[in-house]
């Protein structure tokens, strides 16, 4: 019986962990936590975000953003030109209408005074 007890005691003897064991365990735990916090690569969103992290798609995204910006600026410039052109068109018509009415007035005055309308 004592032999069995001795074997059991020997088997259950407190043993110190090997050197660096605690450090390795903590490092393993930390790496797993980081993996859990990082972007998920499973599921549609995860796959999509992972796809955008690919270098080619990153460039394509940048090019699309630049094209969008340039297109937006061009559209804005065209809108401004159109507004300015419409304003110029209205001013031309106004100026010609005023010119016409004043020429008519001049002609009416000349007629009223009773002379021939024009000569050079």
């Amino acid at each position: 019986m004592s032999g069995f007890e001795d074997e059991l005691r020997e088997a259950l003897r407190r043993e110190e962990p090997p050197e660096g064991f605690v450090g390795r365990v903590m490092a393993r735990i930390q790496s797993r936590e980081q993996a859990a916090d990082g972007p998920e690569t499973s599921g549609p969103w995860g796959r999509l975000s992972a796809a955008f992290r690919a270098p080619r798609l990153r460039w394509a995204t940048a090019c699309a953003a630049v094209a969008l910006l340039v297109g937006g600026l061009e559209y804005r410039a065209q809108r401004m030109e159109r507004a300015e052109g419409e304003r110029a068109r209205r001013q031309v018509m106004l100026a010609l209408r005023i010119t016409g009415s004043k020429l008519r007035l001049a002609q009416a005055r000349v007629r009223r005074i009773g002379y021939a309308p024009v000569e050079r």
Binding site: I98, T99, S101, A106
Partner: protein, 185 residues
Amino acid sequence: MRIGIVFLAATLACAWAQDIKMPVGLEKLSAKAEESVDVTLDGNLLQLAGKFLSDKDADEAQAKKLIGGLKSIMVRSFTFSKEGEYNPADYEAFRAQLQPPAWSRIVGATSKRDGDNSEVYLKVGEGSQIGGLVVIAAEPKELTIVSIAGSIQPEDIVKLGGQFGIPKLDLQQKKAGPKKEREDE
């Protein structure tokens, strides 16, 4: 003597080439005016306006054709609430620029009774073209000055008859005798 002739020719050439400018004093009238119109269109703006003038609308199509050869259009029009708000001296500086031989006054109608004055000047251009048109219309409660610079074909002005209310000007008589000043009373 030669230097004098050269100087005179240079002065005349400068006067010929000079564009008409609106006097600064004229702008002050807008403060007194009940209504005022200020239109200044240079060559670039006229070109831009030409792109937006419709070919389908008769008035706009004619205007598009007319502004094709123009350098600028300036209109200043002031309407006052009562008489005596402006002085003929206010536009005298403008009229002083319209000197022969570059400019010819083709219409001058003054009515002392009504207190109004209408003048039309044409700038002699190259060939049969008119290089500019100026209209001064002074009424007791209204003053309008129009200056159009650039190449205008006489037939374009004739075609404008009936459009924009512009009367037909008899430009075929340009070879007629010396101009007359017409004054009422």
